[in-house]
Amino acid sequence: MTDVLRPHAEDLYAEELAVLAKSDDRPRPPGWRLSPWAVTTYILGDGDQITPKYIGPRRVVEVAVATLATDRALLLLGVPGTAKTWLSEHLAAAVSGDSTLLVQGTAGTAEEAVRYGWNYARLLAEGPSREALTPSPVMRAMADGGIARVEELTRMPSDVQDALITVLSEKTLPIPELNDEVQARRGFNVIATANDRDRGVNELSSALRRRFNTVVLPVPATVEEEIDIVSRRVEQLGRSLALPEIPAGLEEIRRVVTVFRELRSGVTEDGRTKVKSPSGTLSTAEAISVLTSGVALAAHFGDGVLRPADVAGGIRGAVVQDPVSDQVVWREYLETVVRERDGWNDFYRACRDAG
């Protein structure tokens, strides 16, 4: 194991990718490392050697892979924490073997991040030339026939977003300064992610929008599915953070997931009690981080077993984002739902002690 905190998908799962590439005898689209079927298997797992990376509806992954295979750009939409980035990383790793060609969209992302910049020292010394050019990840992906990832597309200013239009429709990036261009090689594509919950973002122009196929990633449909996702990720994260092995009690995971789901949907799992929803999104990703920190607490300060007290603080922190209104929501939930529930007594006490 390397000392990198978080290895790239293609490194972490290099073995699985190799196994798939070896047994994959179906036709591969030009520029692809694997056939679309193998990519789907890599993402969803085969129940044997290949572990599932994305747990969710099969159709979502199929539509995403088919989109890339038909040479269309893919836009993954969803509320925060629905594994958009995760899925885009693994898709890029499986399709082109390289998930590092990444543009992070922020309000300050400049056009250079999508097109190209200049190495000014060389520019001044040698004048405009290809050597003085600093290519963006998108440009590199075009030149190599790989997948470029654009994170949080809607956070970019609109004019930067629109720089993608030519890239996606003409598959070429003109460099007027050199009277030159970079033409995309086969295998080039773009996977963008965006979140449809936030306000104050820059909506995509319809010209750009229609160059993407849109796939909306849903929140986990059932409690069992979500528990499955959470326990898998908690285990993986624990391993990569080199935490001491702790059996992350299924009981605690179930509790955290149940609390998150109930507060998110505003109604208890049995459909009988209405609860208020806090301002945070309470995504699956947050449930995972609550549990991971719980495991760390239990390992370093506790008795080595994940106890309610280890997750109580984390849950409270995730739920109470707004110190006034969310605090009320959380209290109410504790007193009306958690307290009444059979076998949740220790959890209730731990949460009350946590504030």
């Binding site: 679309p36 088919a66 295979a69």
Partner: protein
């Protein structure tokens, strides 16, 4: 020796099966076609060839007089049974239905849902086979596995598969009966000299029909089959019902898609997605041809990824979602509703057997230019036009008969001559019509008879009576009116409960007014209303005695309703009513809330002037009363929301004067009670009241308030005359 009959096992409502049946029949050229269905329908088959017959339609079998016992056999144009009928009619060969007679089904089932009790046979065996093979769409499976298998006809393949599925299956009692009957029908056809017999039945039954079972054994099974009198006819059907209802055992969830598969000459995916783009454009969503191109590519890509030779419904839906709808679920639902299910309403020719009532309704529909449609349609009527009045009358009559073809909507414009409806025709209305045909042969006569029956029923309340009376007036049932008035007068005389009378008054007053608008003669109605009011006035005082909180609240509702209704009646009635109120108001033992409300009514009506009201207010809120009573008095007095206080300067001044006249301690005592009332007002209303109060004080000091109220009658005369003319009270 005639050849073995050809057994065509089909998937009910499967377009693949339908196409295969059509091709197979053209190849076999049978001299008789036997179809799974009720034999009672044999004489009706010829109607299916009528050009005016337009699927989806259904065979409706019912036991006369027992409307609960009815069953449907729906046919769409992609139903194999329908294609078999059309083929036979085209080729001029006889068609016979070979299933168990509907009569026997009703008798054996004994329950209303004749089809659902179908015992052991799976509803959709081909669907189950497809599901077992990993297909979510049975039609895909049919195409991949059955039609693309070379060498054998699809029906041999199906027979083979079903024989394997049914191996070791023992049919339940009903299934055994049905299959015995089918075998018997085949034998009879053979005896009648037919040589090339084709049987179109559910795939599940094929092995049973091929089994070597003797005529004797079948006769033993079928012995003593119960009989019932059954009438059968064709009725129009909708795709929506096809999706939810399972008449043939197999309900289909995507009739629109099947219809498309069956009807599209080529390139089904391209046509479908182009159609979907059309639907979205109609709704104002920008969808370009580039979108359609990309969605077709994605659908095909998905099909390849899923290992299917051609994109199916699942693929085109995903493609439409990802490309055409840009991930949004709402437009996907729109496509689902408009295209996948599809709202198509069939039609039957005029010479279909119908009860006279249905026939009359068809004539009326034609006369009034109202076509039954399966999708919601809004209709705005102007009752001053004869055509619209006729439509309104027809809709009201149908409502009385329990056929809610139209539901009344909130009318957009003001005015009593406007009526707004939402029309949607549902296939089950035909059943209701058949049921209602016991009442008469025309819509009007049947509605009148039904209304008369409603009014003479045991336990009918006065309010029911007046409601029916109102409905009769709306439906222009002049012949039922005398009965209605009679019944009303009698009930009113006998009913000891004043509240019942009070509940009946508003509808009667409205009815009087409708009579005016629609030109319905309603003589006698005014008299009845007058006598009812007289009884109410007599019984009012005792009725107000000893009421608790909930009863008082209910009583106030009645008082308000009657009070409003008297406004529609002649002046004399109103004066008498106000006098009666005057008589009760101020009685010491009244419930506070009622007393408050009465005071307010009389103030609004002008019976009390400001001085008198102020006196009563002071009296009612003085220390001698318990705080609870004071509170409820104030609540009753101020009921009707804070807006009134904002706009009624006189009322506001009264309240203001009373409050500012209270001593310090008395004010503190009253304050919580006031809060109780004011807390029910909205915050903006409270703020507006506060602003008004400030202005009242200021204006009062300057004396401008009084001036503002002064009216220049000369100046207003012209406007007043016009308003009076509009109200019809000129001269």
């Amino acid at each position: 020796m005639p050849a073995e009959p050809a057994l065509l096992g089909v998937r009910h409502h499967g377009p693949g099966s339908a196409r295969a049946v059509r091709a197979e029949l053209a190849r076999l050229r049978p001299d008789i076609v036997l179809i799974e269905g009720p034999p009672e329908a044999d004489p009706l088959v010829a109607l299916a060839g009528d050009p005016a017959m337009e699927p989806p339609v259904a065979l409706l079998a019912h036991v006369p007089g027992e409307p609960a016992k009815s069953a449907f056999w729906p046919f769409a144009r992609f139903s194999p049974e329908w294609q078999a009928i059309r083929h036979a009619l085209g080729a001029g060969v006889p068609v016979r239905f070979c299933d168990l007679p509907a009569a026997a089904m009703f008798a054996t089932a004994g329950t209303e849902e004749a089809e659902d009790t179908d015992d052991t046979a799976p509803a959709d065996p081909i669907g189950s086979l497809a599901a077992a093979a990993g297909y979510d769409d049975p039609e895909r499976w049919w195409e991949d596995m059955v039609e693309h298998r070379a060498g054998a006809t699809p029906f041999e393949v199906i027979a083979e598969a079903m024989a394997a599925v049914r191996d070791g299956h023992a049919p339940g009692p009903r299934e055994a009966l049905r299959e015995a009957h089918m075998r018997r029908a085949v034998r009879r056809a053979r005896k009648d000299g037919f040589e090339r017999i084709a049987v179109v039945c559910g795939a599940w039954h094929v092995p049973a029909l091929a089994a070597p079972i003797t005529a004797k054994a079948d006769d033993a099974t079928l012995r003593g089959l119960p009989k019932a009198k059954v009438e059968i006819t064709w009725v129009p059907w909708t795709y929506g019902r096809l999706a939810t209802f399972s008449g043939y055992g197999a309900g289909v969830t995507s009739p629109g898609w099947y219809d498309h598969l069956f009807a599209a000459p080529d390139r089904p995916v391209e046509r479908w997605l182009a159609g979907a783009a059309g639907v979205l454009r109609e709704e104002g969503l920008a969808v370009s041809s580039a979108h359609v191109i990309e969605s077709v590519r994605l659908a095909e890509g998905l099909a390849v990824l899923r290992g299917r030779p051609l994109a199916g419904l699942g693929e085109v839906t995903e493609a439409a979602r990802a490309v055409l709808c840009e991930g949004d679920d709402l437009p996907v639902e729109l496509i689902q509703r408009r295209m996948v299910v599809g709202e198509r309403l069939g039609a039957v020719p005029d010479d279909t057997p119908m009860v006279p009532l249905q026939r009359h309704l068809r004539e009326e529909q034609r006369r009034l230019k109202l076509k039954p449609e399966a999708l919601d349609r809004d209709l705005d009527l102007d009752l001053r036009k004869p055509l619209d009045l006729g439509r309104s009358v027809l809709l009201h009559r149908l409502r009385l008969l329990g056929v809610p073809w139209g539901t009344a909507r909130e009318s957009r414009g003001k005015g009593t001559f406007r009526e707004s409806w939402t029309l949607v025709w549902r296939p089950e209305f035909d059943v209701e019509l058949i049921e209602a045909s016991a009442w008469g042969t025309t819509v009007g006569a049947a509605a009148a008879a039904k209304a008369r029956d409603l009014m003479t029923r045991e336990g009918v309340t006065l309010a029911d009576l007046t409601e029916t009376l109102e409905a009769c007036l709306l439906a222009d049932l002049g012949e039922a009116l005398p009965y209605a008035l009679d019944a009303l007068a009698q009930r009113a005389a006998l009913d000891p409960d004043v509240t019942h009378l009070m509940a009946a008054v508003p509808a009667t007053a409205r009815a009087l007014r409708y009579g005016d608008v629609r030109g319905t003669p309603a003589e006698g109605l005014g008299k009845v209303a007058g006598s009812m009011l007289a009884r109410i006035r007599a019984g009012l005082s005792p009725a107000l005695t000893g009421l608790d909180d909930p009863a008082a609240k209910e009583m106030i509702g009645h008082l308000d309703a009657v009070h409003a209704a008297t406004g529609l009646l002649p002046e004399a009635e109103r004066d008498a009513w106000l006098a009666a109120l005057h008589g009760v108001a101020g009685r010491g033992d009244l419930h506070g809330r009622i007393d408050g409300r009465l005071t307010r009514m009389l103030l609004d009506a002008g019976s009390f002037d400001g001085e008198e009201t102020a006196r009563r207010m002071a009296l009612a809120t003085s220390a001698g009363h318990s705080p609870a009573r004071v509170a409820s008095w104030v609540e009753g007095f101020l009921a009707g929301g804070g807006l009134l206080l904002v706009h009624d300067a006189q009322l506001l001044r009264l309240v203001d004067r009373w409050l500012s006249g209270l001593s310090g301690t008395a004010f503190v005592d009253v304050l919580p009670l006031l809060r109780r009332t004011f807390a029910t007002f909205d915050a903006p209303e409270r703020r507006a009241i506060g602003e008004r109060v400030r202005n009242v004080g200021r204006a009062g000091a300057g004396g401008r308030d009084e001036a503002a109220l002064e009216i220049d009658e000369e100046l207003a005369a012209g406007a007043v005359a016009t308003v009076l003319a509009i109200l019809g009270r000129s001269g």
